[in-house]
């Protein structure tokens, strides 16, 4: 195997088709270790589909075919032997908060239990740590036994983040996580993400271009399944990005 590189994810000529309709047309990019990597782009440009390829949940979509290579820590994602371990290495936060119909505690302990961790003491510590990391601990520490589905939308989103952290991923993918939560909570989570990026890699899909600007070191602009521009965030958001369309999109005059 090649020596460990400073790239966590390497995507080469990735193509994805739903049935006969190709929605990602051969894209290549790399995500460095412990960076916050933002993906922006208008609706339908294939951002969510790309994330599904990364953790292979695309397998669950009937008729979806993926070609090309995705290397995660040097390992080919498409040929990985243990896809469940892979999904634990790549955490995923969906756009809409999903509290599982379990208690708050069980929501967070779900993934570790699936992975075979049953030691009560260990679980307690893990649940607390993840809830703290997701900035939710103080609000729920007295009612860990109540239902996750009974939390408010913003709390459920942080619960989702805590759940994504519970299996100790190396990469955390967030898909428009702020869609259902208020600006204050969004800011709190953004702080959390900055904190997390010291230890793990974060791939952030966002519709709020300013969010990418605030957080990301590098930003990728996708449009219709292709990469229009990928570069340092300062450049992408500058007055003179490499591509005219980037300027238009970032400044809200995309037509």
């Amino acid at each position: 195997m090649s020596a460990p590189s400073d790239k966590t994810i390497v995507v080469q000529d990735l193509r994805l088709a739903y049935g006969t309709r190709e929605v990602i047309h051969g894209i290549s990019f790399e995500v460095g270790r412990n960076e916050i990597f933002a993906i922006i782009g208008p609706a339908q440009s294939g951002k969510s589909s790309l994330l599904r390829c990364l953790n292979r949940t695309i397998d669950f979509v009937a008729g979806a075919t993926m070609t090309g290579t995705i290397l995660f820590e040097g390992e080919n994602v498409r040929k990985t032997r243990d896809v469940f371990a892979l999904r634990r290495k790549i955490g995923m936060v969906a756009p809409l908060p999903v509290g599982l119909p379990l208690t708050i505690y069980d929501n967070v302990a779900f993934a570790p239990r699936c992975a075979g961790m049953h030691d009560k003491h260990e679980l307690d510590g893990l649940v607390e740590r993840c809830l703290r990391q997701a900035a939710l601990w103080d609000e729920v520490k007295d009612r860990l036994g109540s239902l996750g589905t009974a939390l408010s939308g913003g709390q459920q989103q942080r619960l989702t983040i805590a759940r994504a952290l519970s299996h100790q991923p190396d990469v955390l993918c967030l898909d428009e996580f702020s869609i259902a939560i208020d600006p204050v909570t969004t800011m709190r989570i953004e702080d959390v993400l900055k904190e997390l990026s010291r230890e793990i890699t974060i791939v952030l899909v966002t519709n709020l271009v300013q969010q990418a600007r605030r957080l990301a070191r590098r930003t990728m602009f996708m449009w219709k399944g292709e990469i229009v521009e990928l570069g340092a965030t300062e450049v992408v958001f500058s007055e003179a990005p490499a591509d005219r369309r980037t300027y238009d999109y970032v400044h809200g005059i995309f037509g």
Binding site: V98, L100, F110, L147, H167
Partner: protein, 304 residues
């Protein structure tokens, strides 16, 4: 006309328009209410009529005694236990198979032509008349499998009859669990089975049970399938003994017995067929009520 054009004091006054809407509203409400009543009245009437007609024969002795003097006297114990046998055995066969098949079809199967064909077959089988199932049971179990006219043949025929409906209702219950729950589980590295066991089944179990329980009344009430495959007019068993039949025996059944005493035997006391009907109805109601209880209990544990 803008809102500002209304004088301030009259903004919330009932206009003719509002009054008409309210009238329509109450008319609609009464129509729906009267339909509900119209539906309940025949039900209550049937039960009351049955009970009134059956009253002279309704007692414990009638339940546990065997029929005497060519069914003109005595009780219905062989028919009652026969029905219990048939219902319990047929559901013991069809419920597990049906539920597991539905889980496979809904949770594992890919959306390809084979599975679509299976789906179509299941839906159509659910609509096959029971007399056709009866004929199938006769050919398949009595003759081909050489089980003879027996409780086993009759139960298996009932099982075949209830199976597609159980599959369909179970799938319905599974499909009511939001897809997002499954995706959330897969995203954290849970296998399909872990997802099913910890999220899908706990949240659909009440619907699954309802579907299965509803088939109890169907299995208990059908006459044709068992008449062709194992039910007889009369079979002597020991009075009051619960396990009175063997699996390869023929048996009596309430639905069939009801038919016999109503139409085949002359000079039967009028109250006997009615009392038989009440026992049949009571058995089914008892099962349904306990099912409702179970459902309420499970529903209260449902988490979203």
């Amino acid at each position: 006309m803008t809102v500002a054009a209304i004088e301030p004091g009259k903004r919330f006054v009932r206009t003719r328009h509002v009054a008409r809407k309210e009238r329509q509203q109450s008319v609609a409400k009464w129509i729906f209410f009267s339909m509900t009543v119209a539906m309940i009245i025949p039900l209550v009437a049937i039960v009351a009529y049955l009970l009134w007609k059956a009253a002279p024969s309704l007692n414990w002795q009638f339940l546990v005694d065997v029929p005497k003097r060519g069914m003109r006297e005595g009780g219905i114990w062989p028919a009652f236990t026969g029905t219990l046998y048939l219902v319990v055995i047929s559901l013991a066969v069809s419920a597990p198979i049906g539920v597991l098949a539905a889980i496979y079809l809904n949770e594992y199967a890919k959306d390809n032509w084979l599975n679509r064909l299976i789906n179509l077959a299941v839906i159509n089988l659910a609509g096959v008349p029971s007399i056709v199932h009866a004929l199938f049971g006769l050919g398949a179990f009595v003759y081909a499998a050489k089980l003879g006219y027996s409780i086993l043949s009759a139960s298996l025929t009932l099982a075949i009859m209830t199976l597609p409906v159980i599959i369909a209702s179970t799938r319905e219950a599974l499909a009511s669990v939001p897809m997002s729950f499954r995706e959330a589980c897969w995203n954290v590295g849970a296998t399909r089975w872990q997802t099913i066991r910890s999220i899908v089944l706990p949240n659909s179990i009440s619907g699954i049970l309802t579907g299965v329980i509803l088939q109890v009344s169907r299995a208990a009430g059908e006459t044709a399938p068992i008449m062709f495959t194992g039910a007889v007019f009369f079979k002597a068993v020991e009075k009051g003994k619960l396990f009175s039949y063997g699996l390869d025996d023929q048996c009596m059944a309430l639905s069939m017995h009801l038919y016999t005493v109503s139409t085949q035997v002359p000079n039967v006391k009028e109250s006997i067929p009615f009392a038989t009907a009440v026992v049949l109805l009571g058995t089914v109601l008892l099962v349904n009520v306990s099912a409702i209880g179970l459902r309420v209990w499970l529903r209260n544990r449902k988490k979203w």
